[in-house]
């Protein structure tokens, strides 16, 4: 009792929206205030952001204020360093974060990511909406990920994935 990890009933849902967006949704068994902390506190992000099957976390820096910068780096099991960074455009704790996001190799192609947290009966649904500069960019990022192959170019794929946040 108590030691068991409470899992959300809903799985992770992902969808391509319109021409230039990707939307990801997940419900967590915790109040919005805790989810917000876990999403924006470096020591906490270090513990969940790098998927264990793929790699380990290298560094997490978060200057949690409007205009502040953030940067996450992970190392894949095959030795690639994968870095993402951006700036906070809006922060409205504990319900909304808007930030830019770029993948190191593509500094000119920033995505704008809007995360909203909606709490109900102690559970929180997170919706993360990533908007690319254009349909062409979204499709290019998508295609790059696909052609690169999942294993060989983890870095490229992660660009796409992390743009989803």
């Amino acid at each position: 009792m108590g030691e068991q990890i409470e899992r959300a009933d809903d799985g992770t849902v992902m969808a391509l929206h319109g021409d230039d967006e990707v939307v990801i949704t997940r419900t967590f068994a915790a109040p919005a205030a805790l989810v917000f902390e876990a999403l924006t506190t470096p020591e906490l992000v270090r513990r969940w952001w790098a998927p264990r099957s793929r790699g380990t976390i290298v560094s997490v820096e978060i200057d949690r204020r409007v205009g502040g910068a953030w940067r996450y780096v992970m190392r894949t099991h095959d030795g690639h360093e994968v870095g993402f960074s951006g700036r906070f455009l809006e922060i409205d704790a504990p319900t909304r974060i808007v930030n830019t996001e770029v993948f190191d190799p593509f500094p000119d192609l920033p995505a704008t990511v809007t995360v909203t947290l909606s709490e109900r009966d102690g559970r929180t649904t997170m919706t993360s909406r990533s908007r690319y500069p254009s349909k062409e960019v979204r499709d290019m990022v998508v295609a790059t990920g696909m052609e690169g192959g999942m294993r060989e170019s983890m870095a490229q794929l992660d660009a796409v994935v992390t743009s989803l946040r």
Binding site: T12, F28, A29, L34, V35, A38, W48, V142, L157
Partner: protein, 117 residues
């Protein structure tokens, strides 16, 4: 991949693809079902064919258009890979949130004890 997404991005083409999921169809029947003029349907089918989403099969007097699964499977595989990656992250985040809730409870308990002492 880009071609698949581009072909599907047009609403009427997406409707044609959805219609063809039920089975192969002739141009006329597609137009009727979706309330589109035949030249319009033909134009859309041309785009879907060059994206590899649709095949033509001669059948007696008419040509039937049928869906090809491969590009859709590739699209699905792509979204599934990313969905899984995020799902793994979020499962790890579930664990972090449980720890946070436990710490919070412990702190509350300690505060209560503090007052009692």
């Amino acid at each position: 991949m880009i071609e698949t997404l581009r072909a599907l991005a047009e609403p009427n083409r997406l409707r044609i693809v959805e219609l063809l999921r039920a089975g192969p169809c002739a141009v006329g029947a597609i137009g009727e079902a979706l309330d589109l003029r035949q030249p319009q349907v033909s134009k859309h089918l041309q785009v879907l064919r060059s994206a590899g989403l649709v095949d033509v099969r001669p059948n007696a007097q008419q040509r039937l258009y049928a869906l090809r699964g491969e590009p859709l499977e590739a699209l699905n595989a792509w979204t599934e890979q990313y969905r899984q990656l995020w799902d793994e992250r979020f499962t790890q985040l579930d664990g972090v949130l449980e720890d946070m809730k436990r710490d919070q409870k412990k702190r509350k308990k300690e505060r209560r004890h503090g007052r009692a002492d």
